[in-house]
Amino acid sequence: MLELDGLVMRAGDFTLRAEMTLEPRSRVAVVGPSGAGKSTLLDAIAGFRRPEAGRILWQGRDITADAPGTRPVASLFQDQNLFPHLSLARNLGLALRLGGGRVSAHENQQIEEALAEVGLAGFGARKPAELSGGQASRAALARVLLQNRPVILLDEPFAALGPALKAEMLSRVAELADKLGALALMVSHDPADARRFASQTVLVADGVAEPPRETEALFSDPPDSLRAYLGQA
């Protein structure tokens, strides 16, 4: 499991505290007002920001000081999920060959399968600019599939997609997380996404990331901070 133990993040006069335990193989939404620190929380877990105090543990191992690439974490960002000058095959190849070397025939096979898995069979030679928004998102998912890491962080990667495409992508992510047996942690500003995607939800508000609660219970009886955010007086 992923433990945040007395975590304190500080940037200027902004502070975020977090104390929680997230189960492996679960799907968790992160909601809260903008500027509350949702992305900061994900950055801490991914290793892009150093906490001021506290520890991050995965299966009991302290990963607080590890570099982003050595953590058991794969990330989908808001944008720049693929290198635009490289073909999809090369992009995915980099996820397998972090040293930049040639991919083997076996790895090529894996890349083909991952692309087929997200409905992009035969797209290996294309560059990201030749894809639609939905196709690019699916290609990024194929990358996460190949990375095969037990924690997946999603920082509103589908914010630019239309409602139907976004719903499709969320169910694909859910399938993928189940297939990999991974913990998926997704930032969203849309309560409908959280309900659709996650059985549990972390509320980030007033400088604190609360421990996860049942999504349905949280939204049917929201605390004041969430009520204000949702616009329910």
Binding site: F48, G69, L86, G99, G100
Partner: protein, 503 residues
């Protein structure tokens, strides 16, 4: 981290190669008593010519930049491109062109003679200043043009709707912009002219027209007075550092700005006087820049067919030096393409090539014959001198790449090699090509350290042109100069083009 240690190695190499020769000069310096009587005159001449050159360049740049900012005419894009050309133009080629234009047999003097007017001379203070204005007027024009293009369109529209007179327009909009831009432009050009060597070597000379750089060369080459050369080097170093710091402060970092092709929408300058002024400025600057270059091409063409073996060998040396310094400069620039690296790279500008050359000469001499190292030392110094330009071009792009893809690469855990091979280099291709082109052309045309070190067996092409001029073989010199010009332009074009293919 591997990337960090590479940057540290590159930084240490830059520091060692700039500071150790300077230290060698310092240790060898014979004290102030070693100055010769003419050296005070050299200092005065250096300051006077730099002041005049920078002053005239900036003064003439104002009407030219204004004309370019508000007029559209056929060939405007070409003229703007031409303003970038002196940067990669070998000094010795321009000097030959200027002699053909303003020299005693030049077309200007023939015109003056036909009108019964006295002859003008291209040698001495005049000539040095004319050559410096030839090289720096385009730079000044580009800097001022940037100022004009950065003027907010809303303000110009407001001025037009109020119906401001040209004078009121100048006072409210243009004068404040010029007051902001001109001191920096003046300072940058002043610094460039302070370290003038090749121009002073060819058009100056004699007790009344010697710069400090030229005095260093003469002390080394003719008197072999190392103590005096070292003292002069210190003087030059102090001049360059002080003026360089002032310029850095005033200029706020001029760029090689693309986008000078734009024209601002303006509603003023419709009057006959304004049109005449703008047309005149553009015509004069085009003639001033194009005539010498055209004459080099015309007079050099016959000589191209009868290039001597010495010239061809020198061309081969120059090509090797240019390619070596390009490779070295880029190897240095890649790990140093950060803000701190760029500041460090400025050492290459602050410390004059002649001072570096003198220091390296002093260091090498106990171990081996320094003349045998003439070409490698030239390649090394050229790489150092080009480094600030390469960094200025590469740094913003490299930072943008790190900004855009650093997180993705970090989260994947890409190795330093994979990052460089698959992300940094492919995305940096265009600016790398441009930087390589500039470095290669600068190095190809350089006439500096090589003059200090060279013996008859190891000339570069610019030095060969100078030697041919010195022995009055003007036709051969003009042929070699045209070859040099073509080689410099071709190198720039090939590298720059290479960076654009598929990018």
């Amino acid at each position: 981290m591997a990337r960090r240690s590479l940057a540290l190695i590159a930084a240490a190499a830059v520091l060692a190669l700039t500071l150790v020769p300077v230290a060698a000069v310092l240790i060898r310096a014979g004290g102030l008593s070693a100055f010769a009587p003419g050296d005070g005159q050299a200092l005065r001449f250096t300051l006077v010519q730099a002041t005049l050159s920078a002053g005239f360049s900036v003064l003439f740049a104002v009407p030219v930049a204004r004309a370019l900012a508000r007029r559209n005419f056929p060939g405007r894009g070409l003229l703007v491109a031409l303003l970038g050309a002196p940067f990669i133009l070998p000094v010795i080629v321009a000097v030959l062109g200027l002699i053909a234009t303003f020299g005693s047999n030049g077309i200007v003097n023939r015109g003056l003679a036909a009108l019964g007017l006295p002859e003008m001379t291209i040698y001495g203070l005049h000539g040095v200043v004319i050559a410096h204005v030839f090289f720096n007027l385009p730079l000044a024009t580009r800097l001022v043009l940037q100022g004009w293009l950065a003027m907010p369109g809303e303000r110009l529209r407001l001025a037009a709707s109020l119906g401001l007179s040209p004078w009121a327009m100048f006072r409210t909009l243009e004068a404040p912009m010029l007051a902001r831009i001109l001191p920096g432009a003046f300072a940058v050009i002043f610094v460039i002219c302070l370290s003038s060597f090749a121009v002073a070597l060819t058009l100056g000379g004699g007790p009344r027209a010697t710069t400090v750089e030229l005095a260093i060369y003469q002390a080394m080459r003719f008197d072999f007075d190392l103590g005096r050369a070292a003292s002069l080097s210190l003087l030059q170093l102090a001049l360059a550092v002080v003026a360089g710091l002032v310029a850095l402060r005033l200029s706020g970092g001029a760029s090689f700005g693309a986008g000078l092709d734009r024209r601002v929408a303006r509603w003023d300058g419709r009057g006959f006087g304004a049109r005449l002024l703008d047309g005149g400025a553009i015509l004069i600057v085009a003639l001033f820049l194009l005539t010498p270059l055209t004459l080099v091409a015309l007079r050099g063409a016959p000589g191209l067919l009868q290039l001597g073996a010495g010239t061809l060998e020198a061309a081969w040396h120059s090509l090797s030096v240019a390619l070596a310094s390009t490779a070295l400069c880029l190897l240095w620039a890649l790990p140093l393409a950060t803000r701190r690296g760029e500041l460090l790279g400025l050492l290459g500008i602050a410390i004059s090539p002649l001072v570096l050359g003198t220091g390296l000469f002093l260091l090498v001499r106990p171990v081996m014959n320094p003349f045998a190292l003439a070409l490698p030392v030239t390649a090394l110094v050229n790489a150092l001198v080009s480094l600030p330009f390469a960094l200025r071009i590469l740094r913003p792009e490299a930072e943008a790449i790190r900004e855009d893809f650093g997180r993705l690469a970090g989260s994947l855990g890409l190795s330093g090699w994979a990052w460089t091979r698959w992300v940094l280099l492919p995305r940096l291709k265009r600016p790398l090509g441009f930087a390589a082109g500039l470095t290669a052309a600068l190095s190809m045309g350089d006439l500096g350290v090589i003059a200090l070190f060279a013996d008859p067996d190891r000339a570069t092409l610019p030095l060969q042109v100078y030697r041919l001029m010195g022995s009055y073989q003007m036709e051969a010199a003009q042929g070699a100069a045209l070859l040099l010009l073509m080689a410099s332009l071709a190198l720039f074009w090939l590298f720059d083009r290479g960076g654009r293919v598929g990018a």
